[in-house]
Symmetry: C2
Subunit: 330 residues, 2 copies
Protein backbone atom coordinates (compact mmCIF):
# COMPACT_ATOMS: atom_id res chain seq x y z
CA UNK A 1 0.00 0.00 0.00
CA UNK A 2 1.08 3.46 -0.57
CA UNK A 3 0.32 6.50 1.53
CA UNK A 4 -1.26 9.36 -0.21
CA UNK A 5 -0.15 12.63 1.43
CA UNK A 6 -3.73 13.97 1.64
CA UNK A 7 -5.15 10.69 2.80
CA UNK A 8 -3.09 10.60 6.05
CA UNK A 9 -5.12 11.11 9.19
CA UNK A 10 -5.60 14.80 9.87
CA UNK A 11 -3.81 14.69 13.22
CA UNK A 12 -0.61 13.14 11.88
CA UNK A 13 -0.60 15.55 8.98
CA UNK A 14 -1.25 18.42 11.29
CA UNK A 15 1.57 17.45 13.66
CA UNK A 16 4.08 17.07 10.88
CA UNK A 17 3.04 20.40 9.41
CA UNK A 18 3.15 22.01 12.79
CA UNK A 19 6.58 20.61 13.46
CA UNK A 20 7.83 21.76 10.08
CA UNK A 21 6.42 25.23 10.57
CA UNK A 22 7.81 25.53 14.08
CA UNK A 23 11.25 24.55 12.91
CA UNK A 24 11.12 27.10 10.10
CA UNK A 25 10.01 29.85 12.48
CA UNK A 26 12.69 29.01 15.05
CA UNK A 27 15.38 28.99 12.38
CA UNK A 28 14.17 32.35 11.09
CA UNK A 29 14.21 33.81 14.60
CA UNK A 30 17.70 32.54 15.22
CA UNK A 31 18.92 34.01 11.98
CA UNK A 32 17.22 37.28 12.82
CA UNK A 33 18.75 37.30 16.27
CA UNK A 34 22.19 36.59 14.86
CA UNK A 35 21.84 39.39 12.36
CA UNK A 36 20.74 41.80 15.08
CA UNK A 37 23.73 40.96 17.19
CA UNK A 38 26.02 41.56 14.26
CA UNK A 39 24.51 44.95 13.43
CA UNK A 40 26.79 47.91 14.33
CA UNK A 41 25.53 49.59 17.52
CA UNK A 42 24.05 53.02 17.05
CA UNK A 43 26.66 55.58 18.17
CA UNK A 44 25.47 58.54 20.15
CA UNK A 45 26.82 61.57 18.38
CA UNK A 46 25.08 64.18 20.45
CA UNK A 47 26.86 66.19 23.15
CA UNK A 48 27.29 63.92 26.17
CA UNK A 49 24.85 64.59 28.95
CA UNK A 50 27.02 66.41 31.43
CA UNK A 51 24.64 65.87 34.28
CA UNK A 52 24.45 62.12 33.66
CA UNK A 53 25.20 59.89 36.65
CA UNK A 54 28.34 57.87 36.04
CA UNK A 55 27.42 54.32 35.02
CA UNK A 56 27.36 52.11 38.06
CA UNK A 57 30.50 50.01 37.93
CA UNK A 58 29.71 46.34 38.30
CA UNK A 59 33.03 44.78 39.32
CA UNK A 60 36.03 47.08 39.05
CA UNK A 61 39.02 45.66 37.19
CA UNK A 62 41.10 43.69 39.71
CA UNK A 63 44.19 45.63 38.73
CA UNK A 64 42.81 49.09 39.38
CA UNK A 65 42.99 51.45 42.33
CA UNK A 66 41.06 54.30 43.95
CA UNK A 67 42.70 57.65 44.56
CA UNK A 68 41.76 59.25 47.88
CA UNK A 69 42.81 62.87 48.17
CA UNK A 70 41.97 65.02 51.14
CA UNK A 71 41.91 68.76 50.56
CA UNK A 72 41.85 71.86 52.71
CA UNK A 73 42.15 75.44 51.57
CA UNK A 74 43.99 74.62 48.36
CA UNK A 75 41.35 74.10 45.77
CA UNK A 76 43.56 75.55 43.05
CA UNK A 77 46.19 72.85 43.70
CA UNK A 78 43.49 70.21 44.00
CA UNK A 79 42.08 70.97 40.58
CA UNK A 80 45.54 71.14 39.03
CA UNK A 81 46.41 67.77 40.50
CA UNK A 82 43.08 66.25 39.54
CA UNK A 83 43.75 67.05 35.91
CA UNK A 84 46.91 65.02 36.20
CA UNK A 85 45.77 62.19 38.42
CA UNK A 86 42.44 61.54 36.71
CA UNK A 87 44.40 60.18 33.74
CA UNK A 88 46.71 57.80 35.56
CA UNK A 89 46.57 54.27 34.13
CA UNK A 90 44.63 51.74 36.21
CA UNK A 91 42.76 54.44 38.12
CA UNK A 92 39.20 53.37 38.90
CA UNK A 93 37.76 56.34 40.73
CA UNK A 94 38.75 59.46 42.66
CA UNK A 95 37.42 60.25 46.14
CA UNK A 96 38.03 63.86 47.17
CA UNK A 97 37.71 64.33 50.92
CA UNK A 98 36.42 67.88 51.15
CA UNK A 99 37.67 69.37 54.42
CA UNK A 100 36.57 72.89 53.45
CA UNK A 101 33.72 72.90 55.91
CA UNK A 102 30.88 75.15 54.85
CA UNK A 103 32.30 75.73 51.39
CA UNK A 104 30.52 74.36 48.35
CA UNK A 105 32.21 71.60 46.42
CA UNK A 106 33.21 72.62 42.86
CA UNK A 107 30.83 70.06 41.36
CA UNK A 108 29.22 72.39 38.86
CA UNK A 109 32.54 73.53 37.54
CA UNK A 110 33.81 69.96 37.50
CA UNK A 111 30.88 68.72 35.49
CA UNK A 112 31.02 71.65 33.10
CA UNK A 113 34.55 70.61 32.24
CA UNK A 114 33.67 67.00 31.53
CA UNK A 115 33.70 64.33 30.36
CA UNK A 116 36.23 62.96 32.75
CA UNK A 117 38.15 59.71 32.44
CA UNK A 118 36.90 58.35 35.76
CA UNK A 119 34.19 59.20 38.28
CA UNK A 120 35.19 61.75 40.89
CA UNK A 121 33.25 61.81 44.13
CA UNK A 122 33.38 64.82 46.49
CA UNK A 123 32.85 63.75 50.09
CA UNK A 124 31.70 66.75 52.10
CA UNK A 125 33.03 66.70 55.68
CA UNK A 126 31.29 68.33 58.63
CA UNK A 127 34.46 68.82 60.65
CA UNK A 128 37.95 69.61 59.36
CA UNK A 129 39.75 66.55 60.66
CA UNK A 130 43.08 65.06 59.53
CA UNK A 131 41.69 61.55 59.85
CA UNK A 132 38.70 62.21 57.63
CA UNK A 133 40.61 60.60 54.78
CA UNK A 134 40.89 57.36 56.72
CA UNK A 135 37.19 56.55 56.62
CA UNK A 136 35.99 53.36 55.02
CA UNK A 137 34.20 55.09 52.16
CA UNK A 138 31.30 53.15 50.66
CA UNK A 139 32.32 54.42 47.23
CA UNK A 140 35.59 52.56 47.56
CA UNK A 141 35.33 49.47 45.36
CA UNK A 142 38.91 48.48 44.66
CA UNK A 143 41.31 46.49 46.80
CA UNK A 144 43.99 49.11 46.29
CA UNK A 145 43.99 52.68 47.55
CA UNK A 146 46.33 55.41 46.35
CA UNK A 147 46.46 58.17 48.93
CA UNK A 148 47.92 61.53 47.91
CA UNK A 149 48.31 64.82 49.71
CA UNK A 150 46.67 67.72 47.89
CA UNK A 151 50.01 69.40 47.23
CA UNK A 152 52.03 66.43 45.99
CA UNK A 153 52.67 65.73 42.32
CA UNK A 154 54.03 62.32 41.42
CA UNK A 155 54.61 61.39 37.78
CA UNK A 156 52.40 58.86 36.05
CA UNK A 157 55.43 56.63 35.44
CA UNK A 158 56.23 56.53 39.14
CA UNK A 159 52.62 55.77 40.04
CA UNK A 160 52.22 53.04 37.44
CA UNK A 161 55.41 51.38 38.64
CA UNK A 162 54.60 51.76 42.34
CA UNK A 163 51.19 50.23 41.73
CA UNK A 164 52.80 47.20 40.10
CA UNK A 165 55.11 46.94 43.11
CA UNK A 166 52.14 47.15 45.50
CA UNK A 167 50.55 44.27 43.62
CA UNK A 168 53.60 42.21 44.59
CA UNK A 169 53.52 43.45 48.19
CA UNK A 170 49.80 43.96 48.84
CA UNK A 171 50.05 43.84 52.62
CA UNK A 172 52.52 46.71 52.75
CA UNK A 173 52.30 50.47 52.35
CA UNK A 174 54.13 50.99 49.07
CA UNK A 175 55.12 54.61 48.64
CA UNK A 176 57.58 57.37 48.01
CA UNK A 177 58.32 58.96 51.38
CA UNK A 178 60.33 56.94 53.90
CA UNK A 179 60.76 57.92 57.54
CA UNK A 180 62.14 56.30 60.63
CA UNK A 181 62.02 56.21 64.38
CA UNK A 182 65.07 55.70 66.52
CA UNK A 183 65.45 54.43 70.02
CA UNK A 184 67.43 56.42 72.56
CA UNK A 185 69.17 55.08 75.67
CA UNK A 186 66.42 56.53 77.82
CA UNK A 187 63.89 54.38 75.98
CA UNK A 188 62.20 57.46 74.51
CA UNK A 189 61.69 57.29 70.76
CA UNK A 190 62.43 59.99 68.23
CA UNK A 191 60.94 60.46 64.79
CA UNK A 192 62.80 61.68 61.75
CA UNK A 193 64.43 61.10 58.41
CA UNK A 194 67.98 60.81 57.05
CA UNK A 195 69.21 63.49 59.43
CA UNK A 196 68.70 61.16 62.38
CA UNK A 197 71.38 58.69 63.32
CA UNK A 198 71.19 55.37 61.52
CA UNK A 199 69.56 52.74 63.68
CA UNK A 200 72.81 50.78 63.55
CA UNK A 201 71.85 47.60 61.78
CA UNK A 202 74.85 47.23 59.53
CA UNK A 203 75.80 50.04 57.23
CA UNK A 204 73.60 52.51 55.41
CA UNK A 205 70.30 53.83 56.69
CA UNK A 206 66.97 52.19 57.55
CA UNK A 207 63.36 53.30 57.39
CA UNK A 208 60.49 52.05 59.52
CA UNK A 209 57.58 53.96 58.02
CA UNK A 210 56.29 54.96 54.62
CA UNK A 211 54.06 58.02 54.73
CA UNK A 212 50.56 57.63 53.35
CA UNK A 213 50.54 61.07 51.74
CA UNK A 214 51.98 59.45 48.61
CA UNK A 215 51.44 55.71 48.80
CA UNK A 216 49.46 52.66 47.83
CA UNK A 217 47.94 50.39 50.47
CA UNK A 218 45.23 47.78 50.81
CA UNK A 219 41.71 49.14 51.33
CA UNK A 220 41.28 46.56 54.07
CA UNK A 221 43.46 48.73 56.26
CA UNK A 222 40.83 51.49 56.15
CA UNK A 223 38.42 48.97 57.55
CA UNK A 224 40.94 47.99 60.23
CA UNK A 225 41.49 51.61 61.09
CA UNK A 226 37.87 51.93 62.22
CA UNK A 227 38.55 49.35 64.90
CA UNK A 228 41.43 50.98 66.73
CA UNK A 229 41.56 52.06 70.36
CA UNK A 230 39.74 55.34 70.97
CA UNK A 231 42.98 56.86 72.20
CA UNK A 232 44.38 56.67 68.68
CA UNK A 233 41.60 58.88 67.29
CA UNK A 234 41.99 61.27 70.21
CA UNK A 235 45.70 61.55 69.52
CA UNK A 236 45.20 62.29 65.83
CA UNK A 237 42.44 64.76 66.55
CA UNK A 238 44.31 66.66 69.22
CA UNK A 239 47.48 66.94 67.11
CA UNK A 240 45.77 67.17 63.72
CA UNK A 241 48.79 65.12 62.75
CA UNK A 242 50.16 61.57 62.91
CA UNK A 243 47.37 59.71 61.14
CA UNK A 244 50.07 58.31 58.88
CA UNK A 245 52.23 57.21 61.78
CA UNK A 246 49.18 55.51 63.27
CA UNK A 247 48.56 53.70 59.99
CA UNK A 248 52.14 52.44 59.95
CA UNK A 249 51.72 51.12 63.51
CA UNK A 250 48.52 49.38 62.41
CA UNK A 251 50.11 47.75 59.37
CA UNK A 252 53.26 46.69 61.23
CA UNK A 253 51.17 45.12 63.99
CA UNK A 254 49.09 43.32 61.41
CA UNK A 255 51.97 41.88 59.39
CA UNK A 256 54.73 41.54 61.97
CA UNK A 257 57.00 42.92 59.24
CA UNK A 258 58.21 46.37 58.17
CA UNK A 259 55.06 48.32 57.37
CA UNK A 260 56.30 49.92 54.21
CA UNK A 261 58.16 49.31 50.99
CA UNK A 262 59.97 52.37 49.69
CA UNK A 263 59.88 53.02 45.96
CA UNK A 264 62.36 55.66 44.92
CA UNK A 265 60.48 58.29 42.93
CA UNK A 266 61.94 59.57 39.68
CA UNK A 267 59.78 62.68 39.68
CA UNK A 268 57.99 63.86 42.80
CA UNK A 269 57.24 67.50 43.50
CA UNK A 270 55.66 69.58 46.20
CA UNK A 271 53.40 72.23 44.70
CA UNK A 272 52.81 74.03 47.98
CA UNK A 273 54.46 77.23 46.87
CA UNK A 274 52.22 77.32 43.80
CA UNK A 275 49.01 77.85 45.68
CA UNK A 276 47.18 81.16 45.61
CA UNK A 277 45.49 80.43 48.90
CA UNK A 278 48.55 81.43 50.88
CA UNK A 279 47.93 78.31 52.92
CA UNK A 280 50.97 76.16 53.52
CA UNK A 281 50.83 72.67 54.87
CA UNK A 282 50.71 71.51 58.44
CA UNK A 283 54.31 70.47 58.33
CA UNK A 284 55.42 74.07 58.50
CA UNK A 285 54.20 74.41 62.04
CA UNK A 286 57.12 74.86 64.40
CA UNK A 287 56.12 71.92 66.53
CA UNK A 288 55.41 69.54 63.63
CA UNK A 289 58.37 67.17 64.00
CA UNK A 290 58.36 67.29 67.78
CA UNK A 291 54.69 66.40 67.64
CA UNK A 292 55.47 63.40 65.51
CA UNK A 293 58.05 62.15 67.98
CA UNK A 294 55.42 62.69 70.66
CA UNK A 295 52.96 60.62 68.63
CA UNK A 296 55.40 57.74 68.25
CA UNK A 297 55.80 57.51 72.02
CA UNK A 298 52.06 57.85 72.64
CA UNK A 299 51.29 55.11 70.15
CA UNK A 300 53.86 52.80 71.75
CA UNK A 301 51.97 53.44 74.96
CA UNK A 302 48.57 52.81 73.44
CA UNK A 303 49.67 49.65 71.65
CA UNK A 304 51.84 48.54 74.55
CA UNK A 305 54.95 48.03 72.49
CA UNK A 306 56.84 49.19 69.42
CA UNK A 307 55.59 47.25 66.39
CA UNK A 308 57.52 49.23 63.73
CA UNK A 309 60.31 47.28 62.04
CA UNK A 310 63.24 48.47 59.98
CA UNK A 311 63.89 47.90 56.32
CA UNK A 312 66.63 49.07 53.97
CA UNK A 313 65.09 47.87 50.73
CA UNK A 314 64.85 50.60 48.11
CA UNK A 315 63.04 49.71 44.90
CA UNK A 316 63.59 51.36 41.54
CA UNK A 317 62.31 50.59 38.08
CA UNK A 318 64.76 48.52 36.04
CA UNK A 319 65.92 50.35 32.94
CA UNK A 320 63.79 53.44 33.49
CA UNK A 321 64.16 56.27 32.68
CA UNK A 322 67.26 54.84 31.02
CA UNK A 323 68.90 51.46 30.70
CA UNK A 324 72.01 53.02 32.17
CA UNK A 325 70.43 52.82 35.60
CA UNK A 326 71.51 49.20 35.80
CA UNK A 327 74.69 49.08 33.75
CA UNK A 328 77.87 48.16 35.58
CA UNK A 329 81.58 47.99 34.93
CA UNK A 330 81.59 44.25 34.28
CA UNK B 1 66.19 -0.33 129.72
CA UNK B 2 68.82 1.79 128.15
CA UNK B 3 70.81 1.16 125.04
CA UNK B 4 74.49 1.27 125.45
CA UNK B 5 76.16 2.49 122.25
CA UNK B 6 78.63 -0.30 122.17
CA UNK B 7 76.04 -2.81 122.98
CA UNK B 8 73.87 -2.10 119.86
CA UNK B 9 73.87 -4.87 117.36
CA UNK B 10 76.90 -4.54 115.04
CA UNK B 11 74.81 -4.29 111.88
CA UNK B 12 72.76 -1.26 112.96
CA UNK B 13 75.87 0.59 114.06
CA UNK B 14 77.60 -0.30 110.80
CA UNK B 15 74.77 0.98 108.64
CA UNK B 16 74.53 4.32 110.40
CA UNK B 17 78.29 4.82 110.14
CA UNK B 18 78.25 3.76 106.53
CA UNK B 19 75.45 6.22 105.74
CA UNK B 20 77.21 9.04 107.51
CA UNK B 21 80.50 8.31 105.76
CA UNK B 22 78.82 8.06 102.36
CA UNK B 23 77.13 11.41 102.81
CA UNK B 24 80.38 13.06 103.78
CA UNK B 25 82.17 11.59 100.78
CA UNK B 26 79.42 12.66 98.37
CA UNK B 27 79.41 16.19 99.75
CA UNK B 28 83.17 16.41 99.40
CA UNK B 29 83.00 15.19 95.81
CA UNK B 30 80.33 17.72 94.94
CA UNK B 31 82.37 20.53 96.44
CA UNK B 32 85.44 19.33 94.58
CA UNK B 33 83.48 19.16 91.35
CA UNK B 34 82.12 22.65 91.84
CA UNK B 35 85.58 24.01 92.51
CA UNK B 36 86.95 22.32 89.40
CA UNK B 37 84.26 23.87 87.23
CA UNK B 38 85.04 27.30 88.60
CA UNK B 39 88.77 27.02 87.96
CA UNK B 40 90.01 29.19 85.04
CA UNK B 41 90.65 27.01 81.95
CA UNK B 42 94.25 26.60 80.97
CA UNK B 43 94.95 28.78 77.91
CA UNK B 44 97.06 27.31 75.13
CA UNK B 45 99.78 29.82 74.46
CA UNK B 46 101.72 27.78 72.00
CA UNK B 47 101.72 28.44 68.22
CA UNK B 48 98.42 27.17 66.81
CA UNK B 49 98.68 23.82 65.10
CA UNK B 50 98.49 24.77 61.44
CA UNK B 51 97.71 21.25 60.38
CA UNK B 52 94.75 20.98 62.76
CA UNK B 53 91.46 19.85 61.23
CA UNK B 54 88.86 22.57 61.45
CA UNK B 55 86.43 21.87 64.27
CA UNK B 56 83.41 20.01 62.96
CA UNK B 57 80.51 22.45 62.80
CA UNK B 58 77.45 21.12 64.56
CA UNK B 59 74.58 23.23 63.29
CA UNK B 60 75.56 26.17 61.09
CA UNK B 61 74.07 29.52 62.06
CA UNK B 62 70.74 29.86 60.29
CA UNK B 63 71.76 33.19 58.86
CA UNK B 64 74.93 32.00 57.17
CA UNK B 65 75.72 30.89 53.62
CA UNK B 66 78.16 28.69 51.71
CA UNK B 67 80.27 30.11 48.91
CA UNK B 68 80.64 27.78 45.93
CA UNK B 69 83.30 28.87 43.48
CA UNK B 70 84.25 26.83 40.45
CA UNK B 71 87.71 27.44 39.05
CA UNK B 72 89.55 26.60 35.85
CA UNK B 73 92.97 27.75 34.82
CA UNK B 74 92.93 30.90 36.96
CA UNK B 75 94.38 29.86 40.26
CA UNK B 76 95.95 33.27 40.76
CA UNK B 77 92.55 34.95 40.56
CA UNK B 78 91.04 32.24 42.72
CA UNK B 79 93.49 32.81 45.55
CA UNK B 80 93.13 36.58 45.27
CA UNK B 81 89.38 36.28 45.49
CA UNK B 82 89.54 33.74 48.32
CA UNK B 83 91.45 36.22 50.44
CA UNK B 84 88.55 38.62 49.97
CA UNK B 85 85.61 36.24 50.13
CA UNK B 86 86.79 34.19 53.10
CA UNK B 87 86.18 37.23 55.29
CA UNK B 88 82.65 38.09 54.17
CA UNK B 89 80.23 38.35 57.09
CA UNK B 90 77.86 35.41 57.56
CA UNK B 91 80.03 33.09 55.48
CA UNK B 92 79.96 29.53 56.81
CA UNK B 93 82.28 27.65 54.47
CA UNK B 94 83.85 27.83 51.02
CA UNK B 95 83.60 25.01 48.49
CA UNK B 96 86.09 25.36 45.64
CA UNK B 97 85.10 23.26 42.64
CA UNK B 98 88.49 22.36 41.19
CA UNK B 99 88.09 21.91 37.45
CA UNK B 100 91.84 21.80 36.84
CA UNK B 101 91.81 18.10 36.08
CA UNK B 102 95.10 16.38 36.90
CA UNK B 103 96.48 19.43 38.69
CA UNK B 104 97.10 19.27 42.45
CA UNK B 105 94.93 21.45 44.65
CA UNK B 106 96.87 24.18 46.47
CA UNK B 107 96.05 22.65 49.85
CA UNK B 108 99.57 22.74 51.26
CA UNK B 109 99.97 26.35 50.39
CA UNK B 110 96.54 27.14 51.69
CA UNK B 111 97.21 25.50 55.02
CA UNK B 112 100.61 27.10 55.33
CA UNK B 113 98.90 30.47 55.11
CA UNK B 114 96.39 29.75 57.84
CA UNK B 115 94.55 30.11 60.07
CA UNK B 116 91.60 30.96 57.90
CA UNK B 117 88.31 32.48 59.02
CA UNK B 118 86.23 29.60 57.64
CA UNK B 119 86.84 26.09 56.32
CA UNK B 120 87.69 25.87 52.64
CA UNK B 121 87.08 22.59 50.88
CA UNK B 122 88.69 21.80 47.52
CA UNK B 123 86.50 19.43 45.49
CA UNK B 124 88.67 17.72 42.88
CA UNK B 125 86.79 17.05 39.64
CA UNK B 126 87.58 14.23 37.24
CA UNK B 127 86.19 15.99 34.18
CA UNK B 128 86.25 19.71 33.40
CA UNK B 129 82.51 20.33 33.22
CA UNK B 130 80.60 23.58 33.53
CA UNK B 131 77.90 21.91 35.60
CA UNK B 132 80.33 20.52 38.17
CA UNK B 133 79.45 23.46 40.41
CA UNK B 134 75.79 22.41 40.43
CA UNK B 135 76.33 19.19 42.36
CA UNK B 136 74.62 18.67 45.67
CA UNK B 137 77.81 18.72 47.69
CA UNK B 138 77.69 16.80 50.98
CA UNK B 139 79.82 19.54 52.58
CA UNK B 140 77.01 22.00 51.98
CA UNK B 141 75.32 22.60 55.32
CA UNK B 142 73.58 25.94 54.94
CA UNK B 143 70.25 26.75 53.35
CA UNK B 144 71.83 29.55 51.37
CA UNK B 145 74.40 29.25 48.62
CA UNK B 146 76.46 32.11 47.23
CA UNK B 147 77.77 31.18 43.82
CA UNK B 148 80.57 33.27 42.32
CA UNK B 149 82.56 33.01 39.14
CA UNK B 150 86.31 32.78 39.73
CA UNK B 151 86.94 36.14 38.07
CA UNK B 152 84.23 38.22 39.72
CA UNK B 153 84.87 40.54 42.65
CA UNK B 154 81.85 41.86 44.52
CA UNK B 155 82.30 44.10 47.54
CA UNK B 156 81.53 42.82 51.02
CA UNK B 157 78.87 45.53 51.42
CA UNK B 158 77.07 44.35 48.30
CA UNK B 159 77.22 40.73 49.42
CA UNK B 160 76.04 41.44 52.95
CA UNK B 161 73.11 43.42 51.60
CA UNK B 162 72.22 40.91 48.89
CA UNK B 163 72.26 38.14 51.46
CA UNK B 164 69.78 40.06 53.60
CA UNK B 165 67.62 40.50 50.50
CA UNK B 166 67.81 36.77 49.74
CA UNK B 167 66.60 36.08 53.27
CA UNK B 168 63.45 38.02 52.34
CA UNK B 169 63.13 36.26 48.98
CA UNK B 170 64.51 32.77 49.69
CA UNK B 171 62.84 31.08 46.75
CA UNK B 172 64.44 33.42 44.24
CA UNK B 173 67.91 33.77 42.73
CA UNK B 174 69.07 37.03 44.28
CA UNK B 175 72.03 38.45 42.40
CA UNK B 176 73.83 41.13 40.52
CA UNK B 177 73.64 40.23 36.84
CA UNK B 178 70.24 40.50 35.12
CA UNK B 179 69.52 39.13 31.67
CA UNK B 180 66.46 38.63 29.56
CA UNK B 181 64.92 36.63 26.77
CA UNK B 182 62.66 38.11 24.16
CA UNK B 183 60.07 36.56 21.96
CA UNK B 184 60.12 37.17 18.23
CA UNK B 185 57.17 36.99 15.83
CA UNK B 186 58.48 33.68 14.51
CA UNK B 187 58.17 32.22 18.01
CA UNK B 188 61.94 31.80 18.28
CA UNK B 189 63.43 33.23 21.45
CA UNK B 190 66.52 35.39 21.74
CA UNK B 191 68.79 35.88 24.75
CA UNK B 192 70.41 39.12 25.73
CA UNK B 193 70.72 42.16 27.95
CA UNK B 194 69.85 45.85 27.72
CA UNK B 195 70.81 45.95 24.06
CA UNK B 196 67.81 43.82 23.16
CA UNK B 197 64.44 45.43 22.61
CA UNK B 198 62.36 45.86 25.75
CA UNK B 199 59.74 43.15 26.07
CA UNK B 200 57.08 45.78 25.85
CA UNK B 201 55.36 45.59 29.20
CA UNK B 202 54.97 49.27 29.91
CA UNK B 203 57.98 51.50 29.90
CA UNK B 204 61.54 50.73 30.94
CA UNK B 205 63.24 47.37 30.59
CA UNK B 206 62.57 43.94 32.07
CA UNK B 207 64.76 41.03 33.08
CA UNK B 208 63.78 37.37 33.20
CA UNK B 209 66.96 35.78 34.54
CA UNK B 210 69.57 36.49 37.16
CA UNK B 211 72.89 34.79 36.42
CA UNK B 212 74.23 32.45 39.07
CA UNK B 213 77.83 33.55 38.57
CA UNK B 214 77.21 36.21 41.22
CA UNK B 215 74.10 35.31 43.16
CA UNK B 216 72.51 33.79 46.24
CA UNK B 217 70.00 30.96 45.94
CA UNK B 218 68.50 28.21 48.07
CA UNK B 219 70.60 25.06 48.37
CA UNK B 220 67.44 23.06 47.73
CA UNK B 221 67.73 24.04 44.10
CA UNK B 222 70.99 22.10 43.84
CA UNK B 223 69.05 19.08 44.97
CA UNK B 224 66.34 19.81 42.40
CA UNK B 225 68.95 20.20 39.71
CA UNK B 226 69.95 16.55 40.11
CA UNK B 227 66.45 15.55 39.08
CA UNK B 228 66.19 17.27 35.73
CA UNK B 229 65.63 15.63 32.32
CA UNK B 230 68.80 14.08 30.94
CA UNK B 231 68.58 16.39 27.95
CA UNK B 232 69.35 19.34 30.20
CA UNK B 233 72.69 17.85 31.24
CA UNK B 234 73.48 16.94 27.65
CA UNK B 235 72.77 20.50 26.57
CA UNK B 236 75.03 22.00 29.24
CA UNK B 237 77.78 19.50 28.53
CA UNK B 238 77.75 19.94 24.78
CA UNK B 239 77.79 23.75 25.00
CA UNK B 240 79.90 24.00 28.17
CA UNK B 241 77.53 26.90 28.78
CA UNK B 242 73.97 27.66 29.88
CA UNK B 243 73.97 25.98 33.29
CA UNK B 244 72.79 29.31 34.67
CA UNK B 245 69.99 29.61 32.13
CA UNK B 246 68.92 26.07 33.05
CA UNK B 247 68.86 27.04 36.74
CA UNK B 248 66.64 30.01 35.97
CA UNK B 249 64.26 27.74 34.06
CA UNK B 250 64.22 25.37 37.04
CA UNK B 251 63.50 28.11 39.57
CA UNK B 252 60.84 29.79 37.42
CA UNK B 253 59.07 26.48 36.92
CA UNK B 254 59.22 25.81 40.62
CA UNK B 255 57.85 29.16 41.78
CA UNK B 256 55.65 30.20 38.87
CA UNK B 257 57.16 33.65 39.37
CA UNK B 258 60.16 35.54 37.98
CA UNK B 259 63.19 33.41 38.86
CA UNK B 260 65.40 36.24 40.01
CA UNK B 261 65.56 39.38 42.06
CA UNK B 262 68.11 41.88 40.81
CA UNK B 263 70.17 43.75 43.38
CA UNK B 264 72.05 46.65 41.86
CA UNK B 265 75.71 46.26 42.81
CA UNK B 266 77.61 49.27 44.10
CA UNK B 267 80.98 47.69 43.40
CA UNK B 268 81.34 44.70 41.12
CA UNK B 269 84.44 44.05 39.03
CA UNK B 270 85.67 41.55 36.55
CA UNK B 271 89.27 40.60 37.26
CA UNK B 272 89.73 38.62 34.08
CA UNK B 273 92.37 40.88 32.65
CA UNK B 274 94.39 40.52 35.85
CA UNK B 275 95.16 36.86 35.41
CA UNK B 276 98.62 35.62 34.53
CA UNK B 277 97.25 32.45 33.03
CA UNK B 278 96.33 34.15 29.80
CA UNK B 279 93.04 32.34 30.04
CA UNK B 280 89.95 34.44 29.47
CA UNK B 281 86.47 33.29 30.25
CA UNK B 282 84.09 31.29 28.11
CA UNK B 283 82.08 34.35 27.31
CA UNK B 284 84.75 35.56 24.92
CA UNK B 285 84.04 32.74 22.50
CA UNK B 286 82.55 34.09 19.32
CA UNK B 287 79.49 31.90 19.57
CA UNK B 288 78.82 32.54 23.25
CA UNK B 289 75.68 34.67 22.99
CA UNK B 290 74.29 32.78 20.03
CA UNK B 291 74.78 29.62 22.04
CA UNK B 292 72.76 31.08 24.88
CA UNK B 293 69.89 31.95 22.58
CA UNK B 294 70.15 28.39 21.29
CA UNK B 295 69.97 27.12 24.88
CA UNK B 296 66.86 29.13 25.64
CA UNK B 297 65.06 27.56 22.70
CA UNK B 298 66.31 24.07 23.51
CA UNK B 299 65.19 24.40 27.12
CA UNK B 300 61.74 25.59 26.04
CA UNK B 301 61.63 22.41 23.98
CA UNK B 302 62.80 20.18 26.82
CA UNK B 303 60.42 21.73 29.35
CA UNK B 304 57.63 22.03 26.82
CA UNK B 305 56.99 25.70 27.43
CA UNK B 306 58.60 29.00 28.45
CA UNK B 307 58.53 29.26 32.26
CA UNK B 308 60.65 32.43 32.54
CA UNK B 309 58.75 35.50 33.73
CA UNK B 310 59.63 39.16 33.55
CA UNK B 311 60.37 41.50 36.39
CA UNK B 312 61.42 45.15 36.53
CA UNK B 313 62.16 45.34 40.23
CA UNK B 314 65.62 46.71 40.96
CA UNK B 315 66.71 46.69 44.60
CA UNK B 316 69.28 49.00 46.15
CA UNK B 317 70.40 49.57 49.71
CA UNK B 318 68.64 52.51 51.34
CA UNK B 319 71.06 55.24 52.34
CA UNK B 320 74.19 53.42 51.21
CA UNK B 321 76.80 54.41 50.27
CA UNK B 322 75.26 57.77 51.02
CA UNK B 323 71.94 59.03 52.30
CA UNK B 324 71.70 61.11 49.16
CA UNK B 325 70.67 58.01 47.26
CA UNK B 326 67.14 58.50 48.52
CA UNK B 327 66.79 62.24 48.90
CA UNK B 328 64.27 63.96 46.67
CA UNK B 329 63.20 67.45 45.81
CA UNK B 330 60.23 67.47 48.18
Amino acid sequence: RYFHFWKLPGRVMGIRLLRFTSVVIIVLLLVAGALTALLPSVKDDKMPNLRREPKPQSQPAPDSFTLIMQTYNRTDLLLKLLNHYQAIPHLHKVIVVWNNVGEKIPEEMWNSLGPHPVPVVFKVQTVNRMRNRLQNFPELETKAVLMMDDDTLVSAHDLAFAFSVWQQFPEHIVGFIPRKHISTPSGVYSYGSFELQNPGFGNGDQYSMVLIGAAFFHSGYLEDFQRQPEAVYTLIDETQNCDDIAMNFLVAKHTGKPSGVFVKPVDIRNLEKDTNSGYSGMWHRAEHLLQRSYCVNKLVNIYDGMPLKYSNIMISQFGFPHYANHKNKM
